[in-house]
């Protein structure tokens, strides 16, 4: 089980290390935060999605996408992770 945070374009371009360090302090997250992501723009965005972030993607053990949601849904994410780990 691995969790990675990916940061790409903010409002004014890629977000600085300083801004991201402040965000980590505010939120208290402990997983690795990766900078300068560009893969975000490769994902499918259904019509009606008003918010670009968060985008949560769960990748299975074979590297395929098992879950993709533009709104945070803890219950659905836990269900997906449990299902994949049980395989």
């Amino acid at each position: 089980m691995l969790v990675l945070g990916l940061s790409g374009r903010g409002l004014f371009g890629n977000e600085s290390t300083q801004t991201l360090a402040g965000f980590v302090e505010q939120t208290g997250v402990t997983f690795p935060i990766l900078r300068n992501d560009v893969t975000y723009f490769e994902y499918a965005v259904p019509d009606g999605v008003i918010s670009p972030f968060p985008l949560d993607v769960i990748v299975d053990q074979q590297g395929n996408i098992a879950y993709l949601r533009h709104e945070f849904d803890a219950e659905a994410m836990v269900d997906t992770i449990d299902r994949l780990l049980a395989r």
């Binding site: 990675l4 965005v45 008003i50 972030f53 098992a66």
Partner: protein
Amino acid sequence: MLFAGLGLLGGCADAPNIAEVGQCRAARPECPAPVDSHVDPLRHLGRANTSEFIEITDIVADGETVYLCTGVRGLSVFDASAGAPRRLVEKVAPGNGLADGRFPRCQHVGLDADAERLVITNRGDEVQPQSWLSVFDVADPSRPRERATWVPDRGSIEGVAYEGNRIFAAMHTSGVVALTVDGDTITEVGRTLAPGTDAWKPVLRGDDLIVAEGEAGLRIYDVSGGSEPRLRATAEIEGSSRDVVLEGDRAYVATSAALTVVDIADLDAPQVLVQHSVTGTPLGVAVAAPGVVAVAEWDELRGYDVTDPSSVTQVFSEVVPTNDAFSRVLAVDAVASSGRVFGGEWTGLHQFSLEAGSGPEIGLNPGSVQFGTLAPGESDDRVLVVRNEGDEPLTVTDIVSADDVSVNETCFTVPPGGSTAVEVAFVSSSPEALQSAVRVCSDDPDEPQTEVTLSANIPGVDVGDPVPTFALQDLQGNTWGTADLQGKVTVLAYFATF
């Protein structure tokens, strides 16, 4: 957090083919009969007429005057004497160049006990890198006047408490800071860095300061000395404590996945009475009526009867209605004496009235479904869970959809606290982007119809496809790439700080 959404997404997707969904059918003999006498325990009185994206981050209600902190318009003020709150002031922010004129934002608002002054805070982010707090005179709520502003040397101001000439600011790992206000000057008089501090929200009562401190739990400080707060005691709470409100000898704390009740009768030995697990993610708490706590839980606005901590019961669970695709409850406050509850979402402020009613309460999960890529004629199915979070049986009278969608059940009863899984099958009619929906019809008194959006063939990487290749550095300079994912279940959380 995401007011640039439309700009960022614009042009990413072609307009999909949108299927028409039919209307709910009249009662059918083969289906259970709906009950039409339910009264919703939380009645929606109205929504402020704000259609633009404002991101409500905090709410303080003083009788019929409601102060909002917003992510896009700084401080806003509303008159809630009628059902739908009416905006008195659209946008206020410190005038000395600290706030971004385009997107002035604030995170928290604290009102003085006499309701004549308030303080707003900004924690600093990509839009406004400098954290600040600013005092405004609101003797006339329709004309806030800036009085004084304080900028910390470093660190990030989150929640705030204000009384007389004293301000206490929660500054995450930079601790709890005591300030005094004298005319147009704010001075730091002391700061306490308790072990493991991650201060989110202080509440002042007399000379006692009660602070929700993240992973450290709930802390009690003595602030009678007029200098740095003196730590008296800590109530350790599992998870991260981010908001707190007091009622008598109790503190109600919003923690990671729970509403926590702490007995603070003995300020030197606070006791956790219960950590009640909830469905959503608690972001804010408020006392809606004696013994009833309203919690902004991101997915819904829920209320709990905490009179008997050994048996906390849910009394309401409400999706906040909105015109947008995703309704999310970001902030809450309430006026316990009148039973008025205020909920804030991305675009609007809503007023509710707490009623002595009971009824079913529908909840659908997920709120939208992506089917990935489907060739013409190909079909796939997903599970839609229909929950009943109310205290009376929920009768689903119909589930209607367009021709490209079918469901295995269209009517059933869900007991209180129960759920029913419905299989939803989507048949692709085209290689182009497709959008459809299912409409669930029920005897929920305030949501007789609720919809879930379905989509398929959306251009781009989707469920079932290989993850895009990447190799990126973390903040420590370590490189992580697609190869590191092999054999592991991985969560990729794409985010922005604004």
